[in-house]
């Protein structure tokens, strides 16, 4: 093997650092979901637990928000995809001057802050509702409808970009050929252009749905009195840090990873090189089929769910609680011994043991006492106010 010179290693090193920045926070968040500590943290590690997932399953607000989000997502897809497609087709058919003008208008919603879009949507429909003297139950004031309108404003632009990059590769002589062979312009559209756009419609749908699901800035205005998955999550985060939020992240990351793996497998499976490899190896062909991969991942997920449901960490948590109580006892005694002294001497820390820690509930004065974000405040399950 050749020795690598330091300069050729720099890009690799840089990429590693960069991806550490990308994934580090996520990995740490995932780990905190399995720590029984009531404050999301990696260290000190208390017990391995899956209880936070259980807590999610009984979180009605979050589930209701999720339901709304899915509904809104479907609505957004149904409206934004036809609009984005129409916009891309229009752009591909008009002259260069009009195209530049239209493109500027179409791209604007991506650049306008989401807050502004949400706000203007809310005001506009409120105004229209007032104009028609519509009752408050009508859709002009309905969070779900308003959110769909607000999100479509910019998600249509995203999907338009997807369609635009596909339509640029469309060979317009195909439409002409169809016309020449007697198709009406509408038939040519349905039988030639639409099938060509089909893959882009698929990816734009996924993109639009996910963008809708994760949107916050616009939704927080337009949702009015209702809620979505994201707004519930946001108020949870602002209300108090809680490892069950990490558990949400674990679930979403798992879904994303499964999606990414299946997507990548499908890509590899469909390459020419791989088709060659598996041509006369039926076992390998079945084993690497994306369907098989999906099935295996499905089974693994199921196993994880069963594990989460059955894992019992109560023994360990009870023990930790016991230790804490003992510690608290000890500290209180210590405190009563030297009342005048305010700070706990640092040397007492190490003998707390690996599972110990200055965990919530202790009366140990904090080195940065009045910080509302310090874990002391949160660990006692007193909500932190933002």
């Amino acid at each position: 093997m050749k020795m690598k010179s330091p300069t050729t290693m720099i890009p690799g090193l840089y990429l590693t650092l960069f991806f550490a920045y990308l994934f580090g926070p996520l990995i740490i968040m995932v780990i905190t979901a399995f720590n029984s500590s009531t404050f999301p943290r990696v260290s000190p590690w208390e017990c391995f637990t899956t209880d936070w997932f259980g807590k999610l399953a009984s979180d009605d607000k979050l589930l209701a928000g999720l339901g709304n989000s899915l509904l809104i997502g479907v609505g957004v897809v149904c409206v934004a995809i036809p609009i984005g497609l129409a916009a891309a087709i229009t752009l591909s058919q008009v002259g260069p001057k009009l195209r530049a003008a239209l493109y500027t208008i179409f791209i604007a919603p991506i650049l306008v802050p989401g807050v502004v879009i949400g706000l203007s949507t809310l005001i506009f429909w409120d105004r229209i509702g007032t104009l028609f003297n519509a009752p408050y139950e009508s859709f002009f004031y309905d969070g779900t409808f308003l959110t769909i309108f607000g999100q479509v404003t910019f998600i249509a632009a995203y999907s338009m970009l997807v369609f635009l990059s596909r339509i640029q590769r469309f060979d317009t002589t195909l439409t002409e050929a169809a016309l020449d062979m007697g198709a009406t312009p509408t038939q040519a559209f349905v039988k030639v252009l639409l099938p060509f756009m089909a893959p882009a419609i698929g990816s734009a749908t996924v993109l639009a749905f996910l963008a809708s699901l994760e949107n916050y800035n616009t939704t927080v205005f337009t949702i009015v009195s209702s809620s979505t998955f994201t707004t519930v999550l946001s108020s949870k985060v602002r209300y108090g840090l809680d490892p069950s939020i990490s558990a949400v992240a674990v679930i979403i990351i798992a879904i994303t990873l499964i999606g990414a793996i299946i997507y990548e497998c499908r890509n590899r499976y469909n390459t020419k090189g791989w088709a060659h490899v598996i041509a006369d190896r039926p076992v390998l062909k079945i084993a690497t089929h994306p369907g098989t991969v999906a099935a295996i991942l499905g089974v693994l997920t199921l196993a994880a769910v069963v594990f989460i449901q059955n894992h019992d960490s109560s023994a360990c948590t009870a023990q930790v609680l016991e230790e804490k109580r003992a510690l608290q006892q000890q500290l209180m005694e210590q405190q009563s011994l030297n009342t005048p002294e305010k700070t706990v001497p640092a040397p007492t820390m190490p003998n707390l043991g690996p599972l110990g820690g200055d965990e919530g509930g202790t009366s140990a004065p904090s080195p940065f006492g009045n910080n509302i974000f310090s874990p002391e405040n949160l660990g006692t399950s007193a909500p932190a106010e933002n």
């Binding site: 960069f18 991806f19 990308l22 926070p25 996520l26 740490i28 404050f39 999301p40 260290s43 609009i83 129409a86 916009a87 087709i89 229009t90 058919q93 008009v94 493109y103 179409f106 791209i107 919603p109 991506i110 650049l111 306008v112 802050p113 807050v115 502004v116 879009i117 706000l119 949507t121 005001i123 506009f124 105004r127 007032t130 309108f149 479509v152 404003t153 249509a156 970009l161 509408t186 994760e214 800035n217 205005f221 994201t230 985060v237 840090l241 990490s246 949400v248 992240a249 979403i252 994303t256 990414a260 997507y263 990548e264 890509n267 940065f368 910080n371 509302i372 974000f373 874990p375 933002n386």
Partner: protein, 306 residues
């Protein structure tokens, strides 16, 4: 206009043409232009109870904008608080944008020019995956990371860099790190697309003519990737200055982001006209800034792609 209509009908047939026109007009007028105009109109009105809307008191006024500049006090006072927040927001957004550009440029370059085939695809996938995860959760991750007992503090203290936990939240470090993280992808992809289309031979030719690596970038790659750099910077800047979730979760208690002001006027303040005026201020200042920079860099808005 008539010609355009006939041309579209001729090419697509009546049914499809009606669909195209209808969909585009609904989008442009009902979703984009009219709401913005309504908001503009709102920002020039008094905050009246519903009963008085349309009544004699419902007249146009500059009051909401006056408030932004002068505050509630005397007529010659200056609303230093809100103006200060606007400046801080814009400045921070510029800072975050530049930071993103600096860390993303090498990644985009390596991805575009040194990786090929499956490896490049995998790296791109690895870039995208974190972005399927909710914005709120990403901010939450930084909250954990930078907390008083978070990994950063524990490590820092563990290796003896500092000995009492640093309050990264109050210092806004967590906020900047979280914001920079939030829009990395929108910087990388325009850069990547721009650099990828650069012919390798151009770089090699420059090398061949004696340029060192720094000159290659300064004289060949960066000028070529200028539209990509401009569109990446525009996107990141606009999204950062318009961000709401990250400042709400990661911002220090006394440090507000301008969008939070808008949010406050709207929700807790219950003053829609003033919220509108603040939103207009944000929108206009941001667009003006972007146009100015684009003029400086000599790129047009048509070159902005995702």
């Amino acid at each position: 206009m008539r010609d355009l209509f006939y041309d579209l009908v001729r090419r697509n047939g009546m049914a499809v043409c009606i669909y195209l026109m209808l969909a585009v007009s609904i989008w442009v007028f009902l979703l984009i232009i009219l709401p913005q105009l309504t908001m503009l109109d709102y920002s020039f009105r008094f905050n009246l109870p519903p009963a008085k809307i349309g009544g004699p008191e419902d007249v146009y006024t500059l009051e909401q904008y006056r408030y932004f500049f002068q505050g509630s006090g005397a007529s010659d006072g200056i609303n230093t608080l809100d103006i200060g927040i606007l400046f801080k927001t814009l400045l921070s957004a510029v800072f975050v944008t530049i930071f993103d550009l600096i860390i993303c440029y090498p990644v985009a370059f390596v991805l575009a020019k040194s990786s090929t085939g499956a490896k490049a695809r995998l790296l791109v996938l690895a870039l995208i995956v974190p972005y399927w995860i909710n914005e709120i959760l990403r901010a939450f991750a930084f909250r954990i990371l930078f907390g008083a007992t978070g990994v950063i503090n524990e490590t820092g203290m563990g290796i003896g860099l500092w000995d009492t936990p640093i309050d990264f939240i109050r210092e806004d470090v967590a906020l900047y790190a979280g914001l920079a993280y939030a829009y990395i992808l929108l910087m990388i992809f325009p850069l990547y697309n721009a650099i990828e289309s650069l012919d390798r031979n151009q770089i090699e030719a420059a090398r061949d003519m004696g340029a060192n690596w720094w000159q290659v970038h300064a004289k060949v790659v960066i000028p070529y990737a200028k539209p990509g750099i401009a569109s990446g910077m525009t996107m990141v800047f606009m999204l950062t200055s318009g961000a709401l979730a990250a400042p709400q979760i990661l911002g220090g208690p006394s440090n507000l982001w301008f969008t939070q002001l808008v949010y406050q006027w709207f929700n807790s303040g219950g003053n829609w006209p003033r919220g509108s005026a603040y939103a207009m201020v944000l929108l206009i200042v941001c667009i003006a800034l972007v146009l100015l920079v684009m003029r400086l860099f000599k790129v047009s808005i048509g070159e902005i792609r995702q």
